[in-house]
């Protein structure tokens, strides 16, 4: 019995693929291969659920499907009752900074906070309310005051850096709800998302003395992981994509500080200091290995990340280390991928396939002729063209795919990374550099 694909998933997949972006829903319907890598990451998720902490570097060439893989893992974590946070690194979003860029990353992560019921992000208020709901219930049962229950249950948080104010803000959210003070609720959420830029503003709005700033971003992520556990979720997974943006930092000190932050996370994870928190970092091979500007330029990281030389020698993947290498797709994998896309178009019903297998082969031959092996190595454009073709066929019953095939527009994918210069910046820059930092990139959500 073929599995039915829900319309919502189907439409999301098709729409995203047409735009050349990774779908947010239903990724498992089109996933091809990579069983071992997925297994490894699922194993990580289970470890996190058991109170552990992990970090993985997902390394692949441009177009190899890092973003897809990251999203897939993220969805898997969500299905297991996790909270996920994800963000692309960029010139305004870094792990370490002094000009607001680390807070910028935090804000982006928190905006993208997803739960099983809010897989597209924007889940923070739901999490806070779920926590308070639990507190309310307890307060009703024991007759205690809601506020004290909130503080008591966050007792273990208040010992951590920033924990007391965190608890105060959550309790302010409750107070806002209780008094019908919408502004207070908005302010509480803003604070939790790291959107306050000055302590004075935060004090006036919420009566707290601290804010989430560049220097305590990682501490707050750890705090959040604990809070999430208290709210009834199984763990927290953080996906950071486009790590190459750190590699591109022109300023050595800025780059180094960011790598130090990665080292801190890595150490915490290896030594089991952090708990219920996992990181998945997506980057290109040069981000990892470039001895001058990559992670390997930082010796402490190199020693921890260098791969098992034996396994590389015999050409097998060692998945026990923190680095996971994604190979580009092969022709055969692309073929399966096309079949999956066709399957999705037919909502999972083979009787409704728009084209026979023969069409897939001819399509591949056509693309190969036009753009060479890029068609399967960086398949974004091939997939887009294929989806376009299926869309036309879908809307026009009785049309012949053979005729369409000759009129398809498929072009070589340009790696946007090669189009952007290094990010000129000094660690002391104050504020966002704002307008001159736009770069070329494809749509990404």
């Amino acid at each position: 019995m073929p599995e039915q694909i829900r319309t919502k998933d189907r439409d999301a997949i098709i729409q995203s693929l047409r735009a050349g972006v990774v779908p947010r829903l239903g990724l498992h319907h089109i996933q091809v291969g990579r069983a071992k890598e997925i297994e490894t990451l699922i194993g990580d998720i289970e470890r996190i659920a058991d109170g552990g902490s992990t970090i993985r570097f997902v390394i692949g060439e441009y177009g190899a499907g890092k973003t897809f893989f990251l999203n897939l893992i993220r969805m898997a974590a969500i299905q297991k009752g996790f909270i996920t946070l994800h963000a692309d690194l960029s010139p305004e979003r870094r792990l370490y900074a002094t000009g607001g860029q680390a807070r910028g990353l935090y804000t982006e992560l928190l905006r993208n906070l997803s739960t099983r019921t809010k897989p597209d992000g924007g889940g923070l208020p739901s999490v806070v309310e779920r926590f308070i709901t639990r507190a309310l219930k307890q307060a009703k049962e024991t007759g205690e005051k809601v506020e004290s229950v909130i503080f008591d249950s966050m007792d273990q948080l208040t010992e951590l850096v920033g924990g007391f104010d965190f608890a105060t803000v959550v309790s302010a959210y409750w107070k806002g709800h209780n008094q019908g003070d919408e502004q207070l609720k908005i302010n509480a959420i803003r604070w939790l998302r790291g959107e306050f830029s000055t302590k004075t503003d935060a004090r006036n709005a919420l009566g707290v003395r601290t804010i989430i700033d560049d220097l305590n971003v990682y501490d707050h992520l750890k705090l959040l992981a604990k809070f999430i556990k208290l709210s009834g979720y199984n763990g927290m997974l953080i996906c950071l994509d486009e790590m190459v943006n750190l590699y591109k930092l022109a300023n050595t000190q800025a780059r180094r500080s960011n790598y130090e932050q990665i080292l801190r996370i890595l150490n915490d994870s290896l030594q089991g200091i952090a708990s219920q928190i996992g990181f998945v970092l997506g980057g290109t091979p040069e981000f990892l290995m470039d001895p001058r500007k990559g992670l390997y330029s930082y010796e402490a990281l190199q020693t921890r990340l260098a791969e098992n030389t034996f396994s590389t020698a015999v050409g097998v993947q060692d998945l026990s280390g923190p680095v996971i290498r994604l190979a580009n797709l092969s022709q055969e994998e692309l073929f399966v991928l096309l079949r999956n896309v066709r399957h999705v178009f037919a909502s999972g019903n083979p009787a409704d396939y728009l084209v026979p297998d023969e069409a897939l082969k001819q399509f591949m031959a056509y693309c190969s002729k036009k753009i060479g092996e890029a068609y399967f190595r960086t398949p974004r454009n091939s997939i887009r063209a294929f989806v376009d073709m299926l869309s036309l066929l879908d809307q026009n019953a009785g049309m012949d795919w053979k005729m369409l095939l000759q009129n398809i527009d498929v072009s070589q994918e340009e790696n946007p990374d090669t189009l952007i210069e290094d990010i000129e910046d000094t660690p002391d820059t104050v504020g966002s550099r704002g307008n001159d930092e736009d770069d070329l990139t494809t749509f990404r959500l």
Binding site: T115, E159, Q179, L184, T200, N204, N396, Q406
Partner: protein, 752 residues
């Protein structure tokens, strides 16, 4: 039109093959071409390849008569034999062959059966007549068959996009043709397909043929799956000129972003406010506007005509313009602005949802965010402002009869006003530049409608929420005012000394000091009732009382001395707490010596201190009149959580359950739990599944009855449903959409 496009692709493939050969060879391949075409369309056309478009084109405003129908406006192909624009062996679809019969029918707007691919030749005689009538009538009858509009539009497309390549006359008509298409668009934009083609045609035509006169309008509506041409050109223009993008453009860019989910309800329900707030925030963030860095890629526009006369996609690469739409980061930046504006408008919008049309009442206005100017929202607000100004004049603060202010709202007062009503007053006065005491956000004290209140001007930093220090100051001050109000033993001066002492030693900010002074004034007039305090105090045991007193002494002693005024008030408190007032000297003394001799406590005692050695802080020079021992102060504040809680309870207003005026929802304990939810959530689920769509307002009311938080309820229910049934029950964007497949399962479970 999709079907047509496909057939065109098919035809064009053949044509391309034909073009690849030489002219003679092309003639030779005609046979093959003809055969293929005639089989796929099933007719052979009387095409005369010698007919040139100019010879059958009727220019603008040149009258022409077909049979007895006189058409005055021109812009038509009338004649015979004109082949399609690309020379295929079929007739131009918009060509009016005057020899073909027409027949008058009773129904000018008739329900003619016109194919998916309309062409004049194929119309029935009745439909031909109706078409000619529509033309004769000035091509403006809004109720005409859209097929007619398309046939005419095909002619415009051909004239502009194809004829203009070979005919100077056609090129000269470009502006007229574009204007004509625009005119049709204004009349027939209700028809989605036509609107899409015509909009794009007009935009494409303007850029290509009249670039000097181009004035791009901001596209007002969301396009389907691509950016409108005008948006592409406009943005690229700003980008190329390194001009800041105006707020309006940025918003439409954001709205036309293909993945855009659509703006949330608030943006539409209070559009005026949304635009104002959005533009303000946009300016605050980007100044004159967002600046785009010019990408290398050039802008390439394309238009695929509706007519099958032109099969190839028309493209135009603008070397002078970059392709700004490839930029994604600016969209994120715009999104932040848009979303924060909508967030802030949500409360007002929800109010309007509950009270449709009530845009300018004071309760409504009190929910408007700070970026919105309240002037122009009717008399209610200006009346209130006038009342305040009359009393306040140049003074920074004044005491009012509460009723003078409250009368502007028409609360159904039964001697009390609710939390919401309190907030309404506080927020609205705040918007006018005033603060109020009592302020429920700071002190849990509600305004007493029959009493007084203090209104004071906002200056500098204005806190909206109390810090812990402020709460302490408030509680101590209240206690002091309560115990010293009963007799005249303590003078106003002495009380003021205490207020000052609290301000200084708790390090209140300027804004908090202003507020505390106002509170002081208020408490002088309306001191807390000792009787009610006494009642609350009954629940406080001796040990807790002792702790509070110790805490008070440590505050009094924060500047390393206890002044006579402070002692006087403390003695009253001792008495009130049931302790011997004379024991205070002993306590002050031991308090002082305690802090002087012991190492300063730098950590709370939750840690096992046996392995840690505290390092005494450097001694502060004691001579200074008001030198605060920072570390001691911090430890006082930190250590007194418990005491603080008890003290707060004493001042808590008598709280009946917050929704006592609402009826509690009944929970039937005998009904089974749903998806392992507790009985409250199960009861809510039972209410929800009765409907397909559950309005947000009603849902919030429902949650209120259970004293639960709406988003928390949705999250909890959905989580349980995914666990139990692998799908969510509630799709919640704004209103709640109930998953019907799920609800059937529930209803079945109920009956079983």
């Amino acid at each position: 039109m999709g079907m047509g496009v496909l057939i065109l692709i098919f035809v064009s493939i053949i044509i391309l093959v034909a073009y690849a050969n030489s002219k003679k060879a092309a003639a030779g391949s005609d046979t093959r071409l003809q055969v293929r075409v005639s089989t796929s369309f099933g007719y052979g056309d009387d095409v005369d390849t010698s007919v040139r478009p100019d010879s059958v084109w009727i220019p603008k405003n040149k009258p022409v008569s077909i049979h007895d129908v006189r058409i005055g406006d021109g812009m038509l192909y009338v004649g015979t034999g004109l082949p399609s624009a690309e020379g295929q062996r079929f007739l131009e679809p918009s060509l009016i062959d005057p020899k073909l019969p027409i027949k008058q029918s009773g129904e000018p707007n008739g329900k003619f059966h016109i194919g998916y691919w309309p062409e004049y030749k194929e119309l029935s005689p009745e439909a031909k007549y109706a078409y000619l009538q529509w033309l004769a009538d000035g091509r403006k009858n809004p109720r005409t068959n859209i097929g007619f509009v398309f046939i005419f539009f095909y002619g415009l497309e051909r004239r502009l996009l194809s004829d203009s390549q070979t005919s100077k006359a056609a090129l000269a008509e470009a502006a007229d043709i574009i204007n004509e298409a625009q005119r049709l668009l204004n009349i027939y934009s209700r028809h989605g397909s036509f609107k899409r083609y015509a909009t794009k045609f007009v935009d494409f035509g303007r850029v290509k043929f009249t670039p000097n006169k181009i004035s791009i309008n901001v596209p007002k509506e969301k396009n389907y799956d691509e950016f409108p041409l005008s948006l592409q050109v406009g943005l690229s223009y700003y980008c190329a000129k390194t001009k800041p993008i105006p707020a309006e453009w940025a918003l439409y860019w954001y709205q036309n972003y293909p993945f855009h989910k659509g703006l949330r309800t608030a943006a539409g329900r209070c559009e005026k406010e949304f635009l104002t707030l959005y533009e303000k925030k946009y300016r605050d963030k980007f100044g004159a506007g967002l600046m785009l860095k010019e990408p290398k890629k050039r802008l390439k526009l394309s238009y695929r005509p509706a007519t099958r006369s032109i099969s190839s996609e028309q493209t135009l690469t603008l070397e002078s313009l970059p392709d700004a739409l490839k930029l994604i980061r600016p969209l994120k930046q715009i999104e932040e602005v848009v979303e924060s504006a909508i967030d802030e408008l949500d409360p007002y919008s929800r109010y309007l949802g509950r009270n449709p049309g009530d845009t300018s009442s004071l309760p409504a206005l009190s929910l408007l965010p700070k970026g919105i100017d309240l002037r122009g929202y009717g008399d209610g607000i200006s009346g209130l402002e006038e009342t305040i100004r009359k009393v306040l004049g140049q003074k920074s603060g004044a005491v009012f009869r509460a009723s003078d202010i409250l009368d502007h709202w028409s609360f159904k007062s039964d001697g009390k006003i609710s939390k919401n009503e309190n907030l309404s007053v506080i927020n609205l006065l705040d918007r006018l530049g005033y603060s109020v005491e009592p302020d429920i956000r700071f002190t849990n004290m509600k305004i007493v409608p029959s009493g007084k209140l203090v209104v004071f001007k906002k200056t500098g930093d204005v806190p909206d929420s109390p810090t812990k220090e402020y709460q302490m100051a408030h509680l101590i001050l209240s206690l002091a005012m309560a115990v010293s109000s009963s007799d005249g033993e303590i003078s106003g001066e002495e009380k003021r000394h205490l207020a000052n002492h609290l301000q200084t030693c708790l390090k209140l900010s300027t804004g908090e000091r202003t507020r505390l002074s106002a509170l002081f004034t208020y408490l002088t007039i309306e001191p807390p009732k000792l009787s009610s305090l006494r009642k609350h105090l009954e629940g406080v045991n001796n040990e807790q009382r002792r702790a509070i007193l110790e805490f008070l002494i440590s505050i009094a002693n924060a500047d390393n001395r206890v002044d006579p005024e402070e002692i006087k008030i403390l003695k009253k408190i001792y008495q009130f707490f049931g302790f011997d007032p004379e024991s205070i000297y002993h306590d002050i003394h031991s308090g002082q010596t305690k802090y002087a001799k012991e190492p300063v406590v730098v950590k709370t005692s939750q840690y096992d201190s046996s392995h840690e050695y505290g390092i005494p802080a450097e001694k502060q020079p004691k001579e200074e009149a008001l030198s605060l021992d920072e570390i001691r102060l911090r430890s006082i504040v930190q250590d007194t959580n418990r005491v603080f809680g008890v003290l707060k309870d004493i001042f808590e207003e008598d709280q009946a359950p917050s929704n006592s005026n609402q009826e509690q929802e009944k929970i039937d304990p005998d009904l089974p739990a749903i998806a392992s939810l507790d009985s409250e959530h199960s009861t809510i689920v039972r209410k929800l599944v009765e409907r397909d769509i559950f309005p947000r307002n009603e849902f919030e009311d429902l949650c209120d009855k259970f004293q639960l938080l709406p988003d928390g309820v949705i999250e909890t229910i959905n989580e349980s449903f995914i666990e139990a049934y692998d799908d969510m029950l509630i799709e919640a964007e704004e209103d709640l959409v109930i998953n019907q497949a799920m609800s059937k399962e529930i209803l079945n479970a109920r009956t079983n």
